[in-house]
Amino acid sequence: MPSLGADMESGVLLEWLVHPGDRVRKGDIVAVVDTAKAAVEVECFDTGVIERLLVEPGTRVPVGTALAMIATVPDPALHQARVTGAGPAGEPAQAAGRTAVPVTSPLVRQLAAERHIDLGSVPGTGPGGRVTRADLQAAARVVPEAPPVPDGARVRASPLARRLATELGVDLGTVAGHGPGDTVDAEDVRRAAAERLDRRSTAGLPSTADRASAMRTQIASLMARSKREIPHYYLTETVDLAAAMTWLRARNRELPVPGRLVPAALLLKAAALAIRAVPDLNGFVVDGQFTRAEAVHLGVAISLRGGGLVAPAIHDADRLALTELMAKLKDLVLRTRAGRLRRAELSDPTITVSNLGEQGVESILGVIYPPQVALVGFGTVSDRPWAIDGLLGVRPLVTVSLAADHRVTDGASGARYLLAIRQLLQRPEEL
């Protein structure tokens, strides 16, 4: 049972993801463990074959307990490793099925003790399978993949990593170190933070239902007020995205996977830029008075997996490069679903975009978020027939819609806005 937090004393094995006889590689996820905080996946530190599972799912065991035996490939009888966070230093390695611990030099034994390495788990390449210093060093490089941090022990982490861990709320004890001397560095913390967000919902937060119901009430009241107070008018426009999609594919071929752009990024950017044509769609009505907003803080409606909807802002969306906007969007979605939004993001939007098309619907006639005065909707991007130069062709199309407050603007202004979006999307390279 690995220690997955400085305060963790034991954990429940939830699920085995491997079976006896399975071949596993270092880094494979082999089990899921429930700590007090979350369900966490357990990586395997060795490459070999699962020999035996030692703990039944549903069992709570103390940190340091062997969970399974892995036989390393060359000689299962001699080279066995435990899938665990290693017991207390110096504890004799005596898991079931183990043959004699190989003979080693005192220096190697001392080094092993210092580094908390179970000698029995180290494949020996010396005479008679003896574990050499080099073997130990090789093993030492493997072990910190998930450092077994005894309760209360100090984690080796860089100062920047410590600062980030505090800011991101990451428990350093759960982070594997890849920095100098296998210390935890900033990159490790960022990765851990991202993974934890991915994982958060697996823990089955008990408050999810409560939160969803509270959110439902809030949405109900806001939307009712919008429909009651705001005289909506609606416009739609279908836009040919052939140029945009071609450009996007070419651009994405140059970008690494994590930096890739999705069509939504282009649509959002176009919606933000088009505000310059009709600035009166960007702002708030307070006490019947419209105030135009100078900056474009684009609200993005994000549906939550447990139900419900949040529309936090991407600040200054009109001034962000596409790659920046994409990065912000990813970050925003991740944090929205993790419930880690900042206050300003929730209160700042000056106009909102609903991208429900992601779910496959053709067009959206939305409800404005008070006190904003407009909501832009993008339907799904789909190949449809389209007349080009008098001929019928098949093009990727999107239906763009606008719901706007008639107290502030008229249909003509709204139409100008949609046309601006269409024009912008014909020149994706300028977005």
Binding site: Q137, R141, S158, P159, L160, A161, R162, R163, H178, G179, P180, G181, D182, T183, D185, A186, E187
Partner: protein, 327 residues
């Protein structure tokens, strides 16, 4: 644009200063007919005469102190001391007088003096001509310490140093005298800031004087490995330009200091301390140092080279800081 050597650049700087200000004169051992121990002042005697290109006896304390006195008396002396090792014979004057008089006199007596000396190893001159003691001088409040690492700095630092009312020590790196580079006119440079000589994002390599080229060479090799190193040239060793250093480290989160001085109680230790004091929470790896081995610099080439910071050592230190060491 002309190709100029470091030596010529210093000579031209002296020549220009002496033409512009008649209070400027050069004084030191064999600066006259001999042309200076490293040939810097060759030809200046012919232009300016023995009054202003003044040979001294082998009396470092007397002629360095005389430079201080002449500065107090309204002149703008440039005192040449052959090597930093010899400057120890004038240590009393530099530390007890040049550095203290302004303060001790409650602001009444400034010492607008420039002392030039050679520093550094690499030329098989052994243990009494090769040391890098500029870090010692950088310990002393009241002194300004410059270390030109480029031809442009060799050319441009002298005039502002002479215009400065404080005593300025200029450490010329011996191995650079024959180095050449393009010089765009003779523009004076600032003597207060460090310079980013190569921008990068993964690690900051900090060098000065002779270790700038070591650092740049290392950075080139690291680039082949996909590591993008920033190289900062300290230029001014006292007062240190913390802002430039810290700005760089805050961006790269890692620092490797390359100093030909010894590690113990050194300038590199000082920089490391400042980084940890002021940018601790921006660091993603311990500050690393590549310094000279803790021996008097030996004569034999292989031993001398082994004692000095080399690009390979810098590369290894950077890789270790990035967690990419090979075991």
């Amino acid at each position: 644009m002309a190709d100029t050597t470091y030596r010529e650049a210093i000579r031209e700087a002296i020549r220009e200063a002496m033409r512009r200000d008649e209070r400027v004169f050069l004084m030191g051992e064999d600066v006259g007919p001999y042309g200076g121990a490293f040939g810097v002042s060759l030809g200046l005697l012919e232009e300016f005469g023995p009054e202003r290109i003044r040979d001294t006896p082998l009396s470092e304390s007397a002629f360095v102190g005389a430079g201080i006195g002449a500065a107090l008396g309204g002149m703008r002396p440039i005192v040449e001391v052959m090597t930093v090792n010899f400057s120890l014979l004038a240590l009393d004057q530099i530390i007890n007088n040049a550095a203290t008089l302004l303060h001790m006199s409650g602001g009444q007596f400034a010492v607008p003096l420039v002392i030039r000396m050679t520093t550094g190893a690499g030329r098989q001159l052994a243990a009494q001509h090769s040391h890098s003691l500029e870090g010692w001088y950088a310990h002393i409040p009241g002194l300004r310490i410059l270390a030109p690492a480029t031809v442009a700095d060799a050319r441009g630092m002298l005039w502002p140093a002479l215009r400065c009312p404080d005593p300025v020590l200029i450490f010329e790196y011996g191995g650079l005298y024959n180095a050449s580079g393009e010089l765009d006119g003779g523009a004076a440079v600032d003597i207060d800031t460090a310079a980013v000589r190569r921008p990068g994002s993964d690690v900051t390599i900090i060098g000065y004087g002779g270790t700038l080229s070591t650092s740049l060479t290392a950075a080139d090799r690291l680039a082949d490995d996909g590591i993008d190193a920033e190289v900062v040239d300290l230029r001014t060793l006292r007062p240190l330009d913390d802002a430039t250093l810290l700005d760089s480290v805050r961006r790269t989160h890692r620092a490797v200091i390359v100093d030909e001085g010894w590690r113990s109680g050194s300038l590199s230790a000082e920089i490391s301390a400042r980084i940890t004091e002021q940018a601790f929470y921006d660091l993603d790896a311990p500050v690393a140092r590549v310094c000279s081995a803790e021996v008097p610099i030996p004569y034999a080439r292989h031993m001398e080279q082994a004692a000095l910071p080399q690009p390979a050592g810098v590369v290894a230190a950077v890789r270790a800081a990035l967690g990419r060491s090979d075991g």
